[in-house]
Amino acid sequence: MSRQRFALGATLVALALFPLAGATFYTELVTKVMILAIFALSLDLLVGYTGLVSFGHAAYYGIGAYALGLLAPKYEAANLWLTLPAAVLAAGIAALAVGVFVVRVKGIYFIMVTLAFAQMFYFIFHDTKIGRGSDGISMNFKPVAAIGSFMPFDLGNTTHVYYFVLVLLLVVFVFLRVVLRSPFGRALMGIRSNEHRMRSLGYPVYWYKLASFAVAGALAGLAGYLSALQFGFVNPELLSWHQSGNVLLMLILGGIGSLYGAVVGAFAFVALAEIFQALTRHWQLLLGATIVLLVIFLPGGLASVAARFRRTLIGEADHE
């Protein structure tokens, strides 16, 4: 436990110091990764702790992004403090509405139904004028963080955006930790472990799963909003099933059901993609092969490496 805390603290310090290196490209890249880490964390609540494997989680990511795209006025900057909660709320409500239907089904059916709903959202943005079709929306101005005439930070500044995202990543991480220690979180883990028994113990399982689905959707919306903020651009691909697949892969890479695994997975996914892209045009082939090998030889994901290392090399007793 304390070792884990130390690792988390060290990671945090490293992330906090990173922009001081002054490489703008990498500051932006890590910002992107931290946004994806928030996205992966939101999915971990569903997959890792509630036992609901959603294959349509990008829908809520995309809705959060489009919320900014649609709310941003054409000739002036949007206000962060209005649009961010609106985006989180919009994604949460969308997830709640979809959840009413999808959490009734299980297993493979749950996967397919979440995918179907995500495709519906995708086509709403792709084929209608609501979000300007497949071209998407370019925003002319970055949102501003103005509170009255006071401007605490500048979202046009790469470093400021970096720290803003880092703080939100930390907030989401701590929020999920708190939730998972709570009676509600324990009940979710019970549902993941043995839904049938939870029901016979008196838990209205449906409402727990619905709440989990809505919270995960809202947090994915936060990540989507931040992505739109960073790139100043949204298009339907944000909601595509590739995106849903990618975030699942991040979880699988990092390790499902450990929170920090989601963060590690986001970093690993982007790092592997960058490395393989530099090597070859067929980088996705290499990425796919790497993931297959990882799943076979490291079923607990990268987050389990430290524990494995201790067990096998140092011979530390395998405490319960």
Partner: protein, 254 residues
């Protein structure tokens, strides 16, 4: 007249053309242990599943404290006081024995949906869980991971979890199955302690145990009630002997 806390009237469950439970009318009273006997396939587990809400009734009704609960969901029945255990151990294998019971006890408190509190720090729920472990004889196994416990201990945990939900009605599906002699004896003791304060429905194959603890015995065959009455009546019944007990003794004597 003693009043039934849980009663069924003409309860029937069809699987295709087969009536797994056929026109079953039984009553459970507080302070009484009602055992259900019958050969395999007699419909004993189906009866428990119908009472607990794991299965929906095809016909007939279930009344609990004067209220018709035939259409209530399983979780709702649990919350109003009908607890059950399973024949096939049905626990949270990755959790400790304590957490299995704590989760069970947590289902009784309205704060179960709360997000900003620490689950393990809420004393009342933890106390209930500790008492349930102790009652089931598992106090010394508190921090064992459930999947690492022996089969007998898992059976005890199964009971401890039901007790942690503080039910008024206990539906116990073969609690002694797979237990060693010592564990079984302790479970029989526990059943005797629980009987005065609960209405218990016990499905069990262990004849000695059943006749030692039951106030009422119902014998089921092919989904139907063959005979119901005090142990002495069942023991003396020619119909029961022929349909069920007799075949056993004949098989044993040949």
């Amino acid at each position: 007249m003693s009043e039934a806390i849980l009663a069924t009237n003409g309860l029937t469950r069809l699987f295709g053309g087969l009536a797994a439970a056929n026109d079953v009318s039984i009553e459970l009273e507080r302070g009484k242990l009602h055992a259900v006997l019958g050969p395999n396939g007699a419909g004993k587990t189906t009866l428990i599943n119908l009472l607990s809400g794991d299965l929906a009734a095809s016909a007939g009704s279930i009344t609990y404290k004067g209220e018709n609960i035939t259409r209530h969901s399983a979780d709702r029945r649990s919350r109003i006081g009908i607890g059950r255990s399973y024949q096939k151990t049905n626990i949270f294998p990755a959790f400790t024995a304590f957490e299995n019971c704590r989760l069970a006890a947590q289902s009784r408190v309205p704060r179960a949906m709360r997000i900003f509190t620490v689950a393990g720090a809420y004393r009342p729920v933890c106390d209930v869980a500790e008492r349930a472990l102790e009652a089931a004889g598992l106090a010394g196994r508190r921090d064992r991971i459930a999947s690492a416990m022996s089969h007998g201990e898992q059976r005890q945990l199964e009971i401890a979890m039901v007790l942690a939900t503080a039910p008024e009605v206990l539906l116990l599906d073969e609690p002694l199955a797979g237990m060693g002699a010592e564990e079984a004896a302790r479970m029989v003791e526990l059943l005797k302690q629980l009987a005065p304060h609960h209405a218990i429905l016990l499905v069990e194959h262990d004849m000695d145990a059943v006749f030692a603890v039951a106030d009422v015995i119902t014998v089921m065959v092919n989904g139907q009630v063959l005979e119901s009455g005090p142990p002495a009546q069942i023991r003396a019944s020619a119909a029961v002997r022929q349909a069920y007990l007799g075949t056993d003794t004949e098989a044993a004597s040949t």
